[in-house]
Amino acid sequence: MSIESANAIELKGLTFKRGARNIFDNIDLYVPRGKVTGIMGPSGCGKTTLLRLIAAQLKPEQGEVWVNGQNLPKLSRPDLFDARKQFGVLFQSGALFTDLTVFENVAFPLRVHTKLSDELIRDIVLMKLQAVGLRGAIELMPDELSGGMKRRVALARAIALDPDILLYDEPFVGQDPIAKGVLVRLIRLLNDALGITSVVVSHDLAETASIADYLYVLGDSQVLGQGTPEDLMKSDNPRVQQFMQGRPDGPVPFHFAAPDYKEDLLGVRHG
């Protein structure tokens, strides 16, 4: 795969296990360059795990993770840390450094990876904060921000080094409608304005479908369906349909696997 390939990220034959449980079983997943790709699926299907595999924070049992021409799991620890500079990641919690101000948080990647002068760093930080609309919060501490603002500061930090690829881990969870709208707009805007590749991991159907150019639906350690949001809405896979329509019961059962209900009520107690 060359750097100019149409895909920024290619997962090939990926298998990952937690204990005896198969999280992913031999899946292939391609993320087109310059597009917003949504990765969806019910909670607990391994979406966040997939992000961590892409960023090589977890090593797969089998398979390859190609990012811009490098197979990340095969890199040495120092090379891996170098390779990670091409990523910006927005964690679910924001993960701001609590002992640093908003300014220092956004300046952090610039300080550790560049030798820019203080004035230049200040200008870049101001521009990044302006992009997320929080230039006025520059002197605040993370504790003084609301959840939505924290996520926007984290986003400013994630784009500080102008990454090639932005990974979003559940960006809409726990956000009010206004904050959600802001984030949807920002994700689209940053993707198009900076020409980067975005991967949005989420189970918020409406928001993700509204910005994604391409969608994957995960479940059962497999890729259940893929395509544009419109394609998936028309999918004939009943599991994809259940997810896209948000039906509580269907091929994905409402009940977690359990012994027979009657037997459980009348039978011998556990313990």
Partner: protein
């Protein structure tokens, strides 16, 4: 829970043994990665100075106060016993030797584990649970170099210094009680001390002990934080484990070191 057969119990015992060995292996890898190899992005002396302050300088108060009281108690107890034999003049050497050889390094290490070790574990554990360590990794900064290494070095550097301060303050507190209060002749308090304390045997051995304790306590503290289960229960367990393991390790190692240094084999 169903009753376990003997075979299952043996299996459980074996598994916990393997887990201990595995944890020690991981701890070793963490240590090697943190201290050896090329410098990571973002490492700087500035980080070490910040940690020296929070680990070392902020522990000064508890070390000075404890040292003072322990020195005073030693002088008081020593005097009441020695005066029966008419040798209360030896109280200075008794206080000094006890502090330099044993109590200085050991009590400092125990207090350090409680004051600074638990704080290190809780801080690193909290960073882990709020994904700050993950986000450092994703920014391309190795948390072992950026977070763990400066804390380890700060512990190594500050604990022997704290132990020295502890002993000095203790000897001074002993003098206050013995000389100013109980009326031991000042010349014999200091003179006997000077005559009997040997630089190599007592002072250097005490410093060696302190260095070993510093290494073990800080290592346990940062590893427990780095390796904790990232939720509030996991952090509280890890903090407890830091204090318990570090204290036991210090007391056990103290016996071994004392036997090696002063034992007559």
């Amino acid at each position: 829970m169903a009753k376990q057969s003997v075979a299952e119990r043996i299996q459980l015992f074996g598994r916990s043994g393997l887990m201990v060995v595995q944890a020690m292996g991981v701890a070793g890898v963490v240590l090697v990665h943190a201290l050896l190899g090329r410098r990571g992005a973002g490492s700087s002396v500035h980080l070490l100075i910040k940690q020296l302050y929070s680990v070392g300088v902020l522990s000064l108060a508890i070390i000075v106060v404890s040292g003072l009281f322990i020195g005073m108690v030693l002088a008081l107890q020593g005097y009441t016993i020695l005066v029966d034999f008419g040798s209360e003049q030896a109280v200075g050497q008794m206080v000094a030797l006890t502090l330099l050889r044993e109590l200085g390094p050991v009590v400092t290490a125990l207090l350090f584990a409680g004051r600074a070790g638990s704080a290190l574990t809780a801080e690193i554990g909290n960073m882990k649970s709020t994904e700050q360590l993950s986000s450092l990794e994703m920014i391309g900064v190795d948390p072992l170099k950026y977070i763990v290494a400066p804390r380890l070095w700060a512990g190594f550097i500050s604990m022997p210094l704290l132990a020295a301060i502890f002993s000095v303050v203790g000897i001074w507190g002993g003098a206050m009680v013995a000389v100013d209060w109980l009326g031991v002749y000042e010349g014999s308090y200091w003179g006997n001390m000077l005559a009997s304390v040997d630089f190599q045997d007592d002072v250097v051995n005490g410093v060696i002990k302190s260095l070993v304790f510093a290494f073990v306590v800080t290592w346990i503290a940062v590893f427990q934080g780095y390796n904790c289960v990232p939720n509030s229960e996991g952090i509280s367990r890890a903090t407890t484990r830091t204090v318990v393991y570090a204290s036991l390790a210090v007391l056990g190692l103290d016996f071994i070191l004392t036997a090696l240094m002063f034992g007559d084999f």
